[in-house]
């Protein structure tokens, strides 16, 4: 029955592909397509699970497709099925099925009906790839799909300012999580010298043998996994993204941010548990993080005066507890808790508009002028302090800005001397020189050569920093993003026995997508004039097709699993040695900012209120 696993991925992919070609106006077809896909999936899952349980519920592993193979590197898709997958599969299928039916009526006549169901199915692909994944690489594919579908769902109302702003915000947090995963993969390549499957991780002897003498590496990998899980599950210090993700139609908020998406951090921890099970320090860190999150977000939830943010924070605090349960080794309890919390929050979000009539009625009949709460027994000064901190969400939202994005922007602004001409006139010759050296490595002394990767990767970082902070030309920002990849490729080329194929694989997707994106921007500029990045232009309002093509280009350039660049990205990292943490840091930092710059260009040019239709747009604050 192992071979059946892949069909759980193929089915939603098929449904998604079909949904893409159904015309916009065919509401019935669109919703029936989604309904059939998810319904069949649920049915198949139920039958499969029952059969599997009756057969003695053995763990299944399917090494599916080898996508890229060299002598010492193999990138393969691997599927896996055990009771964790089973619980996530059943909860996910049930909730998605119910929400699909719900949305069929709920979304009626809404502009973007098609977009909504496309994105739901796209999300469902990502979810299934993630939960069925048998190695980190496969998981990462699902992870990336989830990230981009989340962005699209939060920015569903793309003609308003706040959804777009918050979508970019959430995307930036997800990007941090992605890099956690990339770094974890990087280090585990060096630890295992292969793409380790989760199945092998359950082999206690194998794991402890490898970790012996590599304690630091082990802890590093675990912490990177934790970083990724914490970002995805909105644990501290990332918590403030979750309530801000509640911008789409209520059912999408309910299913993604109330239940499925937000519990994937837990999934990651459960899945990698055998790896860090014997690292006591890591388990303590997870427990402390979970506890802190639970306590702090409980207080934040208590002061929320809007219903969705209250549910969001209450959910985060429960997920904090689930983190503790996982780290304490109560796997079954954690799974049970996950399922209950997911169902509860989905339902609560779906009925959230009902609170007005319900609570007003309660208030009408049971009003007590001031309800004493537990906090009233605190000394006034403490009480006020706690209340104000909770109301300000412990400054979590501004923290990210102050300590992460603002310093980056500060650096970026120091690079204002880079203009389009200078980038071209300096960049291209310099790159050619670099390239020349690659081919003639004996010309430079090994001493210098050792530093060249750092130099070139730093240039790459500067490029992308400038792209990130560019306030004017969209095309310039785009060009810099593309060039960033080339510089990185150059930097890595020095690091090891130079392999053409690796670099070609990496750059092939970037180059094609880069040209495509550049052409979109050039065309749009010709049509519309100003597309400077200092404001949102909302051009998807009039040019939705170009917006779609550009989005594809963005995905291509950012190493999304639709081009070979995706495999290349992983490959590039394997060429960074384990004793080069700085190089890893620089490259991963530039990957984060690269993704952000791309999404920023897309958002600023195509999303937000349409600048040329002011009288038809909502106020910015709404």
């Amino acid at each position: 029955m192992t071979f059946l696993l892949q069909f759980f991925i193929l089915l939603p992919i098929l449904g998604f592909a079909i949904s893409l070609i159904i015309p916009d106006k065919k509401e019935d077809l669109l919703s029936w397509g989604a309904f059939t896909t998810v319904g069949l999936h649920l049915l198949a899952a139920t039958v499969f699970v029952v059969y599997w349980l009756l057969q003695g519920h053995e763990t299944l592993n399917l090494k599916d497709i080898v996508i890229y193979q060299t002598t010492d590197y193999s990138f393969f898709i691997d599927f896996y099925f055990d009771k964790i997958t089973m619980v996530y599969l059943m909860v996910g299928a049930i909730l998605t099925f119910l929400v699909t039916i719900y949305s069929r009526y709920y979304m009626h006549r809404e502009g973007g009906y098609k977009r909504f169901f496309n994105t739901i199915l796209f999300f469902y692909i990502g979810y299934n790839i993630a939960i069925f994944s048998g190695n980190l690489e496969t998981l990462f594919i699902g992870w990336e799909i989830l990230g981009i579908s989340s962005f699209l769902l939060i920015a569903f109302y793309r003609d308003r300012y706040l959804p777009v702003k918050n979508a970019v915000k959430v995307f930036s947090i997800y990007r941090i999580g992605d890099v956690g995963l990339i770094l974890a993969m990087w280090m585990s390549h060096h630890l295992w010298h292969e793409n380790i499957t989760f199945l092998k991780l359950t082999n206690y002897e194998l794991v402890s043998e490898h970790l012996q003498g590599h304690t630091v590496i082990g802890v590093f990998i675990s912490l990177m996994i934790l970083l990724s899980a914490a970002a995805k599950s909105a644990q501290l210090p990332f918590s403030s993204w979750l309530p801000r993700a509640m911008e789409g139609p209520t059912p999408s908020s309910a299913i993604f941010y109330g239940s499925l998406s937000v519990h994937l951090g837990v999934f990651l921890l459960l899945r990698t548990y055998p790896f860090w099970e014997h690292q006591l320090s890591v388990r303590i860190v997870i427990i402390v993080l979970g506890l802190l999150t639970s306590l702090i977000t409980t207080f934040i939830a208590r002061v929320q005066s809007s219903v969705k943010s209250q549910i969001a924070y209450a959910s985060i605090s429960q997920i904090g507890l689930i983190f503790i349960e996982v780290a304490a080794g109560f796997e079954k309890l954690a799974l049970f808790h996950f399922a209950g919390n997911a169902f509860l929050r989905t339902y609560q979000l779906l009925v959230s508009p009902s609170v007005v009539s319900y609570l007003i009625r309660e208030q009408f009949y049971n009003f007590v002028p001031r309800v004493k709460t537990i906090e009233d027994s605190l000394p006034k000064k403490i009480e006020y302090t706690f209340y104000m901190l909770a109301l300000k969400e412990w400054n979590l939202d501004s923290l990210m800005y102050r300590y992460l994005w603002n310093p980056l922007k500060w650096v970026g602004r120091r690079l204002d001397f880079l203009t389009l001409e200078r980038v071209i006139y300096f960049g291209i010759p310099a790159y050619l020189v670099g390239l020349f050296i690659v081919y003639n490595q004996d010309l430079v002394s090994p001493e210098i050569e050792r530093y060249l990767p750092y130099l070139f990767s730093l240039i790459a970082l500067f490029m992308v920093l400038k792209a990130f902070t560019e306030r004017r030309q969209a095309r310039m920002s785009w060009l810099l993003v593309v060039m960033n990849h080339f510089w990185i490729a150059l930097a890595i080329s020095f690091n090891e026995h130079f392999s053409f194929s690796d670099v070609h694989l990496y750059l092939s997707g970037v180059a094609v997508a880069g040209v495509l994106g550049f052409e979109c921007l050039r065309w749009l500029k010709k049509q519309e004039g100003n597309i400077d990045l200092d404001q949102f232009h909302g051009h998807s309002y009039k040019h939705s097709k170009v917006a779609f093509v550009f989005l594809i280009a963005c995905l291509g350039v950012s190493g999304f699993p639709i081009t070979p660049t995706f495999v290349g990205e992983d490959l590039i990292f394997t060429h960074i040695h384990e004793d080069q943490p700085w190089l890893a840091l620089i490259v991963s930092l530039s990957f984060i900012i690269d993704g952000l710059s791309i999404i920023r260009v897309y958002a600023r040019v195509f999303l937000g209120p349409h600048v040329k239709s002011i009288y038809e747009m909502a106020y910015r604050s709404s």
Partner: protein, 829 residues
């Protein structure tokens, strides 16, 4: 501080600001009103032009939308010719026709609002709003919260700024990020001194405040409303627009200090050129003239056929043995139900009157901690009616309670109730049913309870309200009701008074679905109270003396029509005589049949229901729809409303008006001088006109004047909705309520002589304003000759319809089954 030479008058500016801000009450008191009430002192088209350019609203359909309506023949060419001739002169018809149909106009200039404050971004590269708004909204919402948060705002009952000061004084943290703003707050600053820091240039202070508050008109509006009507929040909060402005200015100073340090120059000093003053004259452009022409043409394309239909005279034979009479609300949703009743039982009669049935009071349900006003919003009643002996229980729902949000209870609940939630969701999706979360009109009052209607002792008072009414007070109201609708003789054995309400679930705007004449509540108590009045033997004696002799065997029965579910319940049926009980049983069956047909007619606009099915099964589908969590359109309310007809039923009985008309019964013959007419006409502007204009503006600018789509709405503090968690409040109607509405003004048609009507509408300036400024159209139809007179520029002029005949249809059902859109006026009898 010395403001002697000041041109900035804080009090005056705030007063004016409040006048322009949205005047929407909290959700539970949703009252329809003219969204552009601040411009009502101007003529309609001038007002629209000004509102658009000053505040950036889209105030009509766009030129393209009008042109495509013309292509679809929904805007008539002959009407266009006539409108152009009237507005631009007969000689310019061809020239203007060319313009409105084909000319490419330049897009309008940017609105004035916000232009001053946009200089922050232009000259300082700072996005002040995005730094200030989230925290400001959050603090406002928490302060005014009515019961979402578990841990309430710790300081209450002292006013907004005082509470903040108290908290800032004793806390280890601060709402501000820098020192100066906090210090200023503790010094209790005034607006002018803060504006001096932020703006500097006194000549633009006023404009700055308008810019600032209109950057979040939703929040500013609710603060202004709560300031004026504090009782609109059950848990009262003391907050004023002045406090909001001061706090926002402090947050702006804080944000600027954080960005630039303590030394930055005020906005006024960096401005290179002053923006146009907000309230300077707005020049007329050709585009706006074209739009006005289109708007009038669109309206008259419909009015003209309505008037053609009304003009035709038909004599109805008087009904010999009336089976029953039924008095409904004026509401446009009762229009079709009345038609079906009369069709099924040609011996019955129906009437329309505002659904509070001329009796005004506060209502206190059993165990209720508050009073509910049950009469039109501007009226302040002096009476209290209490419910006693209620047997119904209020169901609880743990999923909606806040207990699941705690850490430990949440842990327990999520692992127990969490799974129950999945099942509940499953059931809710496949078998929707009434639950605790449903807002149902039948929950308003327990059918089997008793009401304290009669007052025997004038000292029986509570909170300065008299409990119940005495005989004289009852008789006055009963007389007013019956005379105003012209029902003073020929009573049937059973007369129904049927109020209305609605049921919906997952609908924060539920109050907008109920009876507007009962301040957004169901009309059940009013109908019951008025029936008690009229059935009272002492009252009958007085009524007989005043010319309304009601036979002893005639009995009045109260009822409630749920317009979403199309169900009617009756009250106090046990008091019917055995003969009348027999009549009632028969009538109930007729009413049930009419409700089925009504449901079928309504279903033509619902995609989820097949209109070809038989009425009974459609009715069941409609009932399920009303309790479905996933149904954002339980009913369509007042959408498509366009008419208000004041006159005898004979005027409209043979017409199919497609549920687009408010109908107020009135018999000119018993009121030749128009003495009763004033009472009828006075509320038509604010109530029906208000409903109409709210739909109008929410339709044409659903983003700024309406609430946008309701699908992403998030409930804030139980009093408003916003998108997401840190957005502005969204007043107005959500798109799901208005999408099928045609934005045309209300046409009021009164059956009387023009000179009488002119006299009546001129009696009160606030009533006259509605007509003279043309926020509603007014046509008078002469009762004897059926000549039409249109009111324009202060006088009535004869109106000739362009359309002479309307189509006659013997059975409307096939048309209903095949059309979703608005239907023309048909003659059906």
């Amino acid at each position: 501080m010395n403001h002697n030479n000041s041109t900035f008058d804080e009090h005056e500016v705030l007063h004016e600001l409040k006048h322009f801000l949205p005047a929407q009450s909290p959700l539970k008191d949703f009252i329809h009103h003219n969204t552009l009430h601040a411009f009502q002192n101007l003529k309609f088209h001038d007002a629209l032009r000004r509102a658009s350019e000053i505040l950036g609203y889209k105030v009509t359909l766009s030129l393209d939308e009008f042109r495509s309506l013309y292509q679809e023949k929904r805007i008539r060419e002959d009407v266009l010719n006539r409108v152009i001739a009237k507005w631009q002169g007969a000689e310019k018809v061809e020239e203007w026709k060319e313009k409105v149909l084909f000319k490419k106009f330049e897009s309008p200039a940017l609105p004035r609002i916000g232009s001053l404050r946009s200089n922050w971004k232009r000259h300082y590269q700072i996005d002040l709003d995005s730094m200030v708004h989230p925290l400001l909204f959050r603090i406002l919402c928490s302060f005014m919260d009515q019961g979402i948060s578990i841990w309430n705002f710790p300081v209450a009952n002292t006013g907004f700024l005082n509470s903040l000061m108290e908290m800032e004084k004793s806390s280890f943290t601060s709402f501000f990020k820098t020192k100066r703003a906090r210090t200023l707050l503790l010094q209790n600053p005034d607006i002018a001194s803060l504006l001096k820091i932020v703006v500097g240039d006194e000549s633009v202070y006023k404009q700055y405040l308008f810019d600032q508050q209109f950057a979040h008109q939703g929040w500013a509006g609710i603060v202004s409303t709560v300031e004026d009507v504090p009782q609109t929040l059950l848990d009262r909060k003391q907050i004023t627009i002045k406090e909001l402005v001061i706090f926002e200015l402090l947050l702006e100073i804080d944000a600027l200090d954080l960005q630039f340090g303590p030394n930055w120059s005020p906005l006024g000093s960096s401005m290179t050129n002053k923006p146009v003053d907000l309230f300077d004259a707005v020049p007329v452009t050709e585009l706006q003239e074209a739009i006005s022409i289109w708007q009038e043409t669109f309206e008259w394309s419909y009015y003209d056929e309505v008037l053609a239909g009304l003009q035709k005279k038909t004599e109805f034979k008087p009904i010999a043995n009336k089976t029953f009479q039924s008095i409904f609300c004026i509401d446009d949703r009762e229009c079709s139900l009345r038609r079906y009743l009369e069709k099924i039982d040609p011996s019955c009669e129906t009437y329309g009157t505002p659904g509070f049935f001329t009796v005004e009071f506060y209502f206190q349900p059993e165990d209720g901690k508050f009073y509910t006003k049950l009469c039109p919003w501007p009226v302040t009643p002096k009476y209290l009616i209490k419910e006693v002996g209620s047997t119904s229980k209020r169901e609880k729902d743990l999923h909606l309670s806040k207990q699941s949000h705690g850490l430990f209870r949440g842990w327990l609940i999520s692992q127990t109730l969490g799974f129950w939630a999945a099942l509940r969701l499953f059931i809710n999706i496949f078998r929707p049913a009434m639950g605790p979360a449903t807002a149902s009109s039948f929950k308003h009052m327990d059918k089997f309870s008793k009401l304290t209607i009669e007052n025997h002792d004038p000292n029986d008072r509570e909170n300065d309200l008299q409990v119940g009414f005495n005989i004289e007070e009852m008789a006055n109201r009963a007389e007013a009701l019956l005379k105003s609708i012209g029902l003073i003789k020929d009573f049937a054995p059973v007369v129904y008074l049927i109020g209305h309400g609605s049921s919906s679930v997952n609908n924060p705007h539920y109050a907008a679905y109920d009876c507007g004449a009962c301040s957004g509540r169901a009309g059940s108590v009013n109908s019951r109270v008025m029936c008690h009045f009229i059935n009272h033997p002492e009252v009958r004696k007085i009524l007989a003396q005043r010319g309304v002799p009601i036979p002893a065997e005639t009995q009045f029965v109260g009822g409630l029509h749920d317009t979403t579910r199309d169900e009617v319940v009756f009250f106090d049926e046990s008091s019917l005589s055995s003969v009348n009980a027999g009549h009632h049983k028969r009538n109930e069956a007729i009413i049930e049949q009419a409700l089925d047909l009504n449901a079928k007619e309504r279903s033509r606009r619902f995609v989820s229901v097949n209109t070809h099915n038989d009425p009974v099964s459609i009715h069941e589908a409609i009932r399920i729809r009303s309790v479905s969590l996933f149904e954002p359109r339980p009913e369509l309310n007042h959408a498509t409303n366009a008419l208000c007809i004041v006159g005898r039923r004979s005027l409209t009985k043979r017409l199919f008006l497609d549920r687009r008309s408010f109908m107020n019964s009135y018999d000119y013959a018993i009121d030749p001088e128009g003495k009763l007419l004033l009472g009828i006409v006075r509320p038509l502007g604010p109530v029906c006109g208000g409903i109409n204009l709210e739909y109008f503006f929410s339709r044409v600018d659903n983003q700024k004047l309406g609430a946008g789509t309701k699908l992403p709405h998030n409930v804030m503090g139980l009093f408003g909705v916003a998108n997401g968690i840190d957005g502005d409040l969204r007043p107005g109607l959500p798109s799901q309520m208005i999408e099928v509405h045609d934005p045309i003004r209300l046409m009021i048609i009164i059956e009387h002589r023009p000179d009488v009507v002119l006299k009546v509408i001129q009696l009160q300036p606030e009533t006259y304003e509605w007509f003279i400024n043309e926020w509603v159209h007014l046509v008078v139809i002469h009762p004897e000759t059926h000549e039409l007179f249109h009111f324009h520029d202060g006088m009535f002029t004869p109106y000739q319809t362009l359309q002479k005949e309307i189509e006659h249809i013997s059975d409307i059902t096939p048309v209903l089954e095949t059309h979703e859109d608005n239907l023309p006026v048909y003659e059906i009898a």
